[in-house]
C-alpha cells in the first residue's frame, strides 16, 4: 500500500516503513507462524490447458480429497497463492499464464504438472510450445502423463515441506 500523496516528513518514509515491516516479519516467531499459515493454506488457481485438468479435479474429489491439506481450489487469481500449470503450454497460453501469475499476490508458488510441463511431453521439439520453467519460477515438477492424483498430493506435501524447511522469501514490493 503506497501512500502516493506522500508525507510532510523528510526522507523516504515509505521505504523506511517497508524495510522496518520486512525486518519485523523476518523475525523468528513471526516468520514461523507466517510460514505455518502459508503452508496449510495453499489455494490454487485453475489453469487447465490439457488432460491433467481431469486428474487435478480428481485430486479435490472425494477419493483423494486434497482439502485435507488446506488445498482449496478457488475462483480468482487475486485470492490465490499457488498456480498449477496443468498440461501443455502453447506460446499463446504462456502469455496468459504469465498474466495470471502476475495477478497473484506475493508470496506465490508454481507447480508444473505433467510431462508436458517438464519438457513438452508428446509435443517435445514442437515449434509452438513453451516450457513453464522458461517463463515462471516453478517450485515443484510432477512427472507423468497424466500424473495420478496421488502424485499431485505428493507435490503439495513436497511444497509444504519446502516452505517449512526454507521459509518463504517475500520481496516487499510497493503498490502496483
Amino acid at each position: 500500500m503506497a501512500c502516493s500523496g506522500g508525507f510532510i516528513l523528510i526522507g523516504e518514509l515509505e521505504e523506511v516503513a517497508r524495510k522496518a515491516a520486512q525486518w519485523l516479519v523476518e523475525k523468528t516467531p513471526i516468520k514461523t507462524i507466517r510460514d505455518w499459515g502459508i503452508r496449510f493454506s495453499l489455494w490454487p488457481v485453475h489453469f487447465t490447458t490439457a488432460c491433467c485438468g481431469a486428474e487435478f479435479a480428481a485430486t479435490s474429489g472425494p477419493r483423494y480429497d486434497a482439502e485435507r491439506y488446506g488445498f482449496l481450489p478457488f475462483t480468482a487469481p487475486r485470492q490465490c497463492n499457488l498456480m498449477l500449470i496443468e498440461g501443455t503450454l502453447t506460446k499463446k497460453m504462456g502469455r496468459a499464464a504469465k498474466i495470471v501469475y502476475d495477478q497473484m499476490p506475493e508470496p506465490k508458488f508454481v507447480i508444473a504438472m505433467g510431462v508436458c510441463g517438464l519438457d513438452g511431453g508428446i509435443f517435445w521439439n514442437s515449434y509452438n510450445i513453451v516450457r513453464p520453467w522458461q517463463i515462471l519460477p516453478v517450485e515443484v515438477f510432477i512427472p507423468g502423463c497424466p500424473p495420478r492424483p496421488e502424485a499431485v498430493a505428493r507435490a503439495i506435501l513436497m511444497l509444504q515441506e519446502k516452505i517449512k524447511k526454507e521459509g518463504v522469501k517475500v520481496e516487499a514490493r510497493g503498490g502496483t
Partner: protein, 341 residues
C-alpha cells in the same frame, strides 16, 4: 499496591461494565473473531462430509483441522494487498474497512442478558435494523471503485437484491414487535418467557429467516458473488487482508441476524440458567448464543445441499413471496392481538 489497584480497575472496567464488555467481548468483537474461525471451518467441514470427504484435517490433525481458518487468516495477513492502478484508491481501501465496521456495529448493540446490555434504549430493535441497512452502500461503492466489470455486475446484483429484501425484513420484524407491543429487544425477550415468538407468529419467523439468508448471501441466494458466473462479484479485485475483511463481513452480518432471530423468535435467554450468573453476569446470555449458533449451522448447511438461484428468480422470491409473506405476518400479528388482547 498501586499496580494491583490499576489492574483491578481495568478488570472491573473491561469485564463488569456492560458498556465496555458488550462491544468488545460477548456479543461483540472477540466472539465474532472466534466465531469466524470456527464457523467457516465448520462450513467447509460440513460440505466435505456431505460430499463424502474429510475436509480440512492436517493443519491440526488431532483436533480435526479446526485451526484451518487461522492458517488462512495468517496467510491473508501476510499476503501482499494488491491495489491495481485502475481502481479508485480511496473507495478501494476504505470500502472493505467500512463494510466490516457497519456489519460489526449492530452486534455491539445486542443485549447479552436482561441486566447486562450495552445499549439501553426503547428503540434498540429499530436501531439495530437501521444500522443493518447501511452495509449495501459500501458493497456498491467497492464494486464501483474496483473498476472491473465483474465487480460492477456483482454490485448491481447486490443493489437489486437489497431492494427486494429490505422491505420484508422491516415488515416481519415490526410484525413481531407489534405482537409484543415494544421496540426494545430486552422487553421483547422478557415477554417471551411464557411463549416464544416463533409460536406466536411463525410467518414472521419464516420470513425473517429467509431474509437473513438472502441478505447475507448464503446459498441458495449467493447471487452477488456467484463464483461460477461473475468471478467473485464485488470482491474480484481484492487480495490480502482486505479480502479477508470482505469475506468476514457477510459472516458477521449473518451472526447479527441469527442473534436477532434467536432474541426475537426463539425466546432469547429463556429458559434462563441462573447459576451461570455466579461465573459472570453475561454468562446466561450463552443460551442466546447457542440458539444463534444452531441457526448459523442451518444456514451454512444449505451451502452443501442447494444450487444457486438466478438473480431474477431471487428477486421474484423477494417481491412475490417474501413481500406477501411479510404482509401476511402483519395481518397475523393483528389477528393475534385481536384474539389474545
Amino acid at each position: 499496591m498501586q499496580v494491583s489497584e490499576i489492574i483491578s480497575w481495568l478488570i472491573n472496567l473491561l469485564f463488569y461494565k456492560p458498556e465496555v464488555f458488550c462491544p468488545i467481548f460477548y456479543p461483540g468483537l472477540v466472539t465474532i473473531l472466534a466465531l469466524l474461525i470456527f464457523i467457516i471451518w465448520l462450513e467447509r467441514k460440513i460440505a466435505a462430509k456431505v460430499q463424502l470427504r474429510y475436509g480440512p484435517l492436517y493443519v491440526t490433525r488431532k483436533a480435526g483441522g479446526i485451526l484451518q481458518l487461522l492458517a488462512d487468516l495468517l496467510r491473508y495477513m501476510f499476503q501482499e494487498p494488491i491495489i491495481p492502478k485502475t481502481v479508485d484508491k480511496i473507495a478501494f481501501i476504505a470500502g472493505p474497512v467500512l463494510l466490516f465496521a457497519t456489519a460489526y456495529v449492530p452486534a455491539a448493540l445486542l443485549p447479552a442478558t436482561a441486566e447486562f446490555t450495552g445499549l439501553r434504549s426503547e428503540l434498540s430493535l429499530l436501531a439495530v435494523l437501521a444500522l443493518l441497512t447501511l452495509a449495501p452502500i459500501f458493497d456498491i461503492i467497492i464494486g464501483w471503485g474496483s473498476n472491473n466489470k465483474f465487480s460492477l455486475i456483482g454490485s448491481m446484483r447486490e443493489g437489486y437484491i437489497v431492494m427486494s429484501y429490505e422491505i420484508p425484513m422491516f415488515l416481519s420484524t415490526l410484525a413481531i414487535a407489534m405482537v409484543y407491543g415494544s421496540l426494545n429487544i430486552v422487553e421483547i425477550v422478557e415477554m417471551q418467557s411464557r411463549c416464544w415468538g416463533i409460536l406466536l407468529n411463525p410467518i414472521a419467523a419464516a420470513t425473517f429467516l429467509l431474509v437473513a439468508l438472502i441478505s447475507t448471501a448464503r446459498f441458495p441466494f449467493e447471487i452477488a458473488e456467484a463464483e461460477t458466473e461473475i468471478v467473485m462479484g464485488p470482491y474480484t479485485e481484492y487480495s490480502g487482508i482486505l479480502y479477508g475483511l470482505l469475506m468476514g463481513a457477510s459472516y458477521v452480518k449473518f451472526y447479527v441476524l441469527s442473534m436477532l432471530f434467536a432474541l426475537l423468535f426463539l425466546g432469547g435467554w429463556h429458559p434462563s440458567i441462573t447459576w451461570l450468573e455466579k461465573i459472570h453476569p453475561a454468562a446466561p446470555g450463552l443460551v442466546v448464543f447457542i440458539k444463534a449458533l444452531i441457526i448459523m449451522v442451518f444456514g451454512i448447511f444449505l451451502r452443501a445441499v442447494y444450487p444457486r438461484f438466478r438473480v431474477d428468480q431471487a428477486i421474484r422470491v423477494g417481491w412475490h413471496l417474501l413481500f406477501m409473506l411479510s404482509m401476511l405476518s402483519i395481518a397475523y400479528s393483528l389477528a393475534v392481538i385481536w384474539l389474545v388482547g
